[in-house]
């Protein structure tokens, strides 16, 4: 028998009361856990995906939409731009490198993105098997795409028009898988990558089979004498001055729009922040109510237990031990509440991720434990101590003789 066991015995003597208090506290803490997990991973992922991309240039529209579609591949593109404009921009002395993207097709919900080999270099992508595309209709699959679709090197498939759900299929030209990427932990995992040419030729009416056998452009823009379009451009600056001058230069041209990923993402977080604050507030209110619940439960049980406490004193307990006895009850309650809350939070996120396999949060994982979660534990225990202080003080002051004579 020791103090911890004694307090524990008194808690399980009232399982319903104890369970309710634990559950209420756990609920509040679960909400906070989910928020912390999502926020941390979201920001991490967002920052990681945008690394190496200084500026995105595309058709006029919402700058946030341009970023979401071209960097994170979650929203629809703003439209296409003329390749002549794009090539003109690439000759600007402030531009170090420019990577064209061509979008518009998907295969079973996975986006087919036409680009060049530089796009893979931004993320230092490596192949787990096969080689990078060389000819039109050669594709490289992100690791998760390959796993989910069950495709391997040498397999073929037919893309469909549109970005999310399929409308009509481009049945003439099957794509051929030439390689699969290693798991990257970023946006590449869920893409189907190919050359710009593939995207063009899929949408062309005629069939020029000679063209299909010509190797595609590995860097820069493909050479063509036709009027071609691309969806957007990922730009890397040559020097810091570019950050000031280039966006202004691009935006002044009527057909183009430039957006900075870091700027747009911080704007997005600012917008989301209001909602996050609201949910956080709700969680704090629940935790305060849980704390009050624990306080009331201890305070009420103390009335019934005055005699027990006096008997403990006659058995040799000091008033300090009685104080500790009550505080320990509060601490055990909140400690268990915190553990349960953190587990519920992770479970909740796991379910959320499972149900959104291709959505924006699909890249998150519930299997990560953060240092912040230890703080949840600490805060919960502090709530327990505060809630039990007054009842514990009452226990401390138990007048043995008076209490025993009363009965």
């Amino acid at each position: 028998m020791n103090m911890l066991r004694l307090s524990w015995k008194y808690l399980i003597a009232k399982p319903l009361n104890t369970g309710l208090n634990i559950l209420l506290l756990a609920l509040g803490l679960a909400i906070i856990t989910v928020l912390i997990l999502i926020q941390d991973q979201f920001e991490n992922k967002m920052t990681k995906d945008a690394e190496g991309i200084d500026l995105v240039v595309g058709a006029k529209g919402s700058p946030l939409q341009l970023i979401l579609s071209s960097v994170y591949h979650i929203d629809f593109p703003t439209g296409n731009i003329d390749m002549a404009d794009a090539i003109a921009l690439s000759k600007n002395r402030l531009v170090k490198n420019i990577i064209p993207l061509g979008m518009g097709d998907n295969y079973q919900g996975y986006r087919i993105v036409g680009t060049n080999h530089d796009y893979l270099d931004i993320y230092n992508a490596e192949m787990v098997s096969g080689v990078i595309w060389d000819k039109p209709f050669d594709v490289v699959l992100g690791n998760e795409t390959a796993a989910k679709l069950g495709l391997g090197v040498g397999d073929t498939f037919i893309g469909s028009h549109g970005i999310g759900s399929s409308s009509h299929e481009h049945d003439e030209h099957p794509y051929k898988v030439t390689g699969i990427l290693t798991p990257m932990g970023n946006v590449l995992d869920k893409l189907i990558l190919t050359s710009i040419e593939s995207v063009w030729y899929t949408h062309d009416e005629g069939h020029d089979h000679e063209k299909f056998e010509t190797p595609v452009a590995k860097t820069g823009f493909p050479e063509t004498d036709e009027d071609r379009e691309v969806t957007s451009l990922l730009v890397q600056y040559r020097n810091p001055i570019a950050a000031v001058q280039l966006p202004r230069f691009v935006n002044s041209k009527s057909a183009l729009q430039a957006a900075s990923p870091s700027f747009e993402i911080s704007r997005l977080f600012e917008l989301l922040g209001v909602g996050v604050k609201l949910i956080q507030g709700l969680a704090v209110v629940i935790i305060i109510i849980a704390g009050l619940g624990i306080f009331i439960a201890l305070f009420n049980s103390l009335k019934e237990r005055k005699y027990d406490l006096a008997v403990m004193r006659t058995l040799g307990a000091s008033n300090g031990q009685l104080f500790l006895h009550i505080v320990l009850e509060g601490v055990i309650l909140t400690f268990i509440g915190a553990i349960v809350g953190i587990l519920i939070g992770h479970l909740f996120l796991a379910v959320l991720v499972m149900q959104n396999e291709q959505g924006a949060i699909s890249g998150l994982t519930a299997m990560v434990f953060l240092v912040e979660e230890l703080w949840i534990l600490v805060y919960a225990v502090i709530v327990g101590i505060i809630a039990s202080l007054i009842p514990a003080w009452n226990a401390y002051q138990t007048d043995i003789a008076k209490q025993l004579t009363k009965a």
Partner: protein, 210 residues
Amino acid sequence: MLQASNIEFYYNSNQKFEIPDINLKSGDQLLIIGKSGSGKTTILNILGGLLKPLSGDVKINGTSVYGLTGGQLDKFRGKNIGIIFQKPHILSALNVEENLKLANFFAGEKSDLISPLLKELGIFDKRKSNVNTLSEGEAQRVSIARALVNNPKVILADEPTASLDDENASNVVKLLQQQAVKYNAALIIVTHDQRVKDHISNQITIGGES
């Protein structure tokens, strides 16, 4: 073993309790008889280190009880004084055995008396039982076992027979006497119950004849 001398106590100075000097050796037994309100329980509380007298001294085993302070007094009480109340007052969140273990824990002792005591008092089978399932008599025996588990020097019993029938009352007193002799402790029973009179010859009556 137990000496109480010159003890004075009152809640109201017009109504002082007359408290006789008491001097007991190990194994001695004493019956204090008095009507309700005569201050029986007050005497017991003072002897048990629960209520500090206004003046006078209580010595147990050579230690001046009220010379101890705070936690020291609590530990001393747990180790050396076993108190049995009119009602059993067993902690209901714990089972029978755990109640005894708790007494050990608070006294800072680790005794091997738990099983033998429970066997002697005929409640060994009930050691894992929830306290609420015990009969009145069983509960009283648990409280006696709890008072004895630290092998105390002094056993104080406050109206231990009040709620029991004749047969059980007699049994409880005999049990207390047996155990006190066995563990060589001084036994003081405070009661208004005339049935106890025949068992203990060493008697003090307080608050006038009843």
